[in-house]
Amino acid sequence: MDFLNPVINGFSVVLEPMNLLYCLVGVVIGMLIGVLPGLGPAATIAILLPLTYGVEPVTAIIMLAGIFYGAQYGGTITSVLLRLPGEASSVVTVFDGYQMARQGKAGTALGLAAIGSFIGGTAAIIGLTFLAPLVAGFALDFGPPEYSALAMLGILLVATISGGSKAKALIAASVGLLLATVGRDIFTGESRFTFGSIQLADGIDFVPIAMGIFGLGEILYNLEERHRAAKAPSKVSNVWPSKAELKHASGAIGRGSVLGFFLGILPGGGATIASMASYAMEKKRAKQPERFGKGAPEGVAGPETANNAAATSSFIPLLTLGIPANATMALMFGALLIQGVTPGPQLVEQEPELFWGVVNSMYIGNILLLIMSLPLVGIFVRILRVRAAILAPITALITLLGAYTINNSMFDVTLVVVFGVVGYLMKKFGFEPGPLVLAFVLGELLESSLRRSLLVFDGDPTGFFTRPISATLLAVFVLVALMPGIRSAMAKRKGTTAASASAGDGTNNDGANNIKEKV
């Protein structure tokens, strides 16, 4: 039971008043921006990154994590009440949630979503508690070859799994890789793409890129988007679902927890994909699939559970391997780096207070959210009345001020503006910013680990296959790369029988394509 000691110590970290306060602040901000269709958690975290500079690392991450999973709760509210998904991960909730609201069961829908989110989140934290030390047990076996394989797999998954056009995702990822090469070559000291500027000698900092692309880019893009005026929300009553309803949805909540947990761990996965997969699964499993889209409670409970489970479990690859699974986690990575903490296999052992403090804060945060989300629904919906003309300049100002404070550098502010424009143009032309930012983060890791490995292997690339972990990872890489080919071959063989079976998937994919992915 030695292993439980640090877990329990983690609770004492969370229960410090300062940390509790920041946890509360985080989840409230998370819910707020979850309600606002403009800002997503990644943008918010990007904007608030510099503000965390002055506080303790554990406190900062507790707050940022709260924003992330808090947004999963908030996004549901507007999906159900206004048919306006506040978050990409709550898009599928619209299908049945809004119908339930029209039938006068808005309270039930919100109640189910909140309970499901709580269960999904809690289940994922328990999974995280047991899985993380297991992975960390291999900490010292993770050398340059393992990191090269992991980074390659991560970039591939990010580019192929994320929603939207694959070709565009690959282009964005390539640009990210290219940007990662700027700066002094750490093996030879040669300057690359610095154009003689000493400001670029260390390469481009991750934080201004993220703040520009996610923060400023998002703000600019939203100014252009016209949101539907907020209608008066439907009346919310009997928030607590009846026993029969709960029993009906319990299967969906259980399946959503497991599905969400695993999809969250996957690089490139995350809350949005988990919610869609869960919706598709529930629809496939249902005895009367035609009920879906007409107010089926499972259609709300499943995806809402899955998105929160995934939001939580996506911390696993970041905290144990130092590999961010999605864009929001890339920002967490940046936040940790600002704090002088390098996430990786050593984290659990070297910074147990930070690790377990953050993990355990999620229990508290989920309880806070469950308590807050139902009674405060009316207040959160009112936020929608704040005009973009007021919100946008304030957030833009905070972003630019924040960018300056990190390194006291005007150059960083310029970078934020440049990447803000890049982010805006990317969104406008349908490029996902996620793959770019993730490839940028992983690109540095990939290049240095790959070159380091080759030095250790004396230039022999077969060396990667002599080590069990890197060999396994590379095998998975090949599998994933070949997957689309295998799939289409199988589909051809199945012929017409598959056509009817994949109809369900088809509608789901349409849903995915219609979503303007928001990070």
């Binding site: 010292l140 340059p144 030879t188 040669e190 000698a201 260390d202 390098t342 390194n407 380091r452 004396d458």
Partner: protein, 336 residues
């Protein structure tokens, strides 16, 4: 509506004029203090810029020094981090500021003595562009070996008769210079694997991804004490008082004196009285128990020299390292 732009223009001009007048005034006051009566120094907070990120050993030293000097100088000394290009960014920026003693920089010796061997000339910093106020301390490098390598002393390495892999803390660092020169002198064949800093290099030794690495003593000590890595040599000219049983490279017969030194510098042309006042306040700080305790805790050996001594010594090292790399035909930059 037609009036509006005109009115705005007038308002704008008026405020611009006011602002100009104000700044001009401020400039006069500031200028007077700097050029004239230096007994008025310091005329406000004295900023100490650090070219490394917050939390690193250089930053910690700056903060410990600033805390003491705030009391002895009677003026706040905020520490500002401007990381970039091994500290060249911050150093060049401070070197270009007004030489009134209000702007200082914490200078690392490697930036002057080793980095120029690895980077292009316009990225390098020249010590003659600065006035050195005081030397601070010496931070030693130690060569450590992984357990699986079986190396318990440097003789084991020279007797191994095979290619060894060694991690460095990056290109153009003391860690790289010390090891490449040492291995040439000892005729050991080695593969140089650069890491981003000391921590990942140490982790690689712990996981036996590289057999050897040279890192700063403060970073290596916890693992040395835990017996997870074996210390083979220190690169200081004498044994390090914190590791009395580990021989120095010189004792083992190798001529490779490498350590990290740090000093405080001001822009070139700072008035002598200002420099004297700063030096006196730093010397008072050196005497405090808190600062002594800080050095001890971070395994730093005090090396509290005058500015002139620092310049002579660092220039000597720069010369020596240049000779060494030329003699052994080592290229810190494009190796392999």
């Amino acid at each position: 509506m037609k009036h509006f732009p005109t009115r705005r223009a007038i308002l704008g001009t008026a405020s611009a004029v006011t602002l100009l007048a104000l700044t001009a005034c401020g400039g006069n006051v500031g200028g007077g203090a700097a050029a004239g009566n230096s007994s008025k120094y310091p005329s406000g907070p004295v900023t100490l810029t650090v070219g490394q990120a917050a939390g690193g050993s250089t930053d910690l030293i700056a903060r410990a020094l600033a805390e003491g000097a705030t009391k002895t100088l009677g003026s706040p000394m905020p520490v500002v981090n401007k990381p970039g290009a091994n500290g060249a960014l911050a150093t060049k920026e401070v070197a270009g500021k007004t030489a009134d003693g209000q702007e200082l920089v914490l200078l690392t010796a490697s930036l002057i003595t080793i980095t120029p061997l690895a980077v292009s000339a316009d990225e390098a910093v020249n010590i003659d562009d600065l006035d050195i106020i005081a030397g601070l301390s010496q931070d030693d490098y130690v060569l450590v070996a992984s357990q699986q390598s079986g190396f318990k002393s440097f003789e084991d390495v020279t007797n191994a008769g095979r290619n060894v892999t060694f991690g460095t803390t990056g290109v153009g660092t003391g860690s790289q210079l010390a090891q490449t020169v040492l291995f040439k002198q000892a005729s050991v064949k080695g593969t140089d694997v650069p890491f981003d800093s000391g921590k990942p290099a140490l982790t690689a030794v712990l996981g036996n991804q590289v057999e050897l690495a040279t890192i700063q003593l403060g970073e290596a000590m916890p693992q040395i004490e835990a017996g997870k890595v074996s210390p083979l040599l220190v690169f200081s000219e004498e044994r390090n008082s914190f590791l009395p049983d580990v021989p120095s490279a010189k004792e083992a017969g190798y001529d490779v004196p490498v350590a990290q030194y740090r000093a405080v510098a001001a822009p070139k042309g700072t008035p002598q009285e200002v420099k004297d006042k700063l030096l006196a306040s730093f010397q008072d700080t050196f005497k405090t128990d808190a600062y002594k305790e800080f050095n001890k805790k971070n395994l730093l050996t005090p090396k509290e020299l005058s500015g002139e001594e620092v310049v002579t010594e660092w220039k000597g090292y720069a010369e020596k390292y240049k000779e060494l790399v030329e003699k052994y035909d080592i290229s810190l930059g494009g190796n392999k």
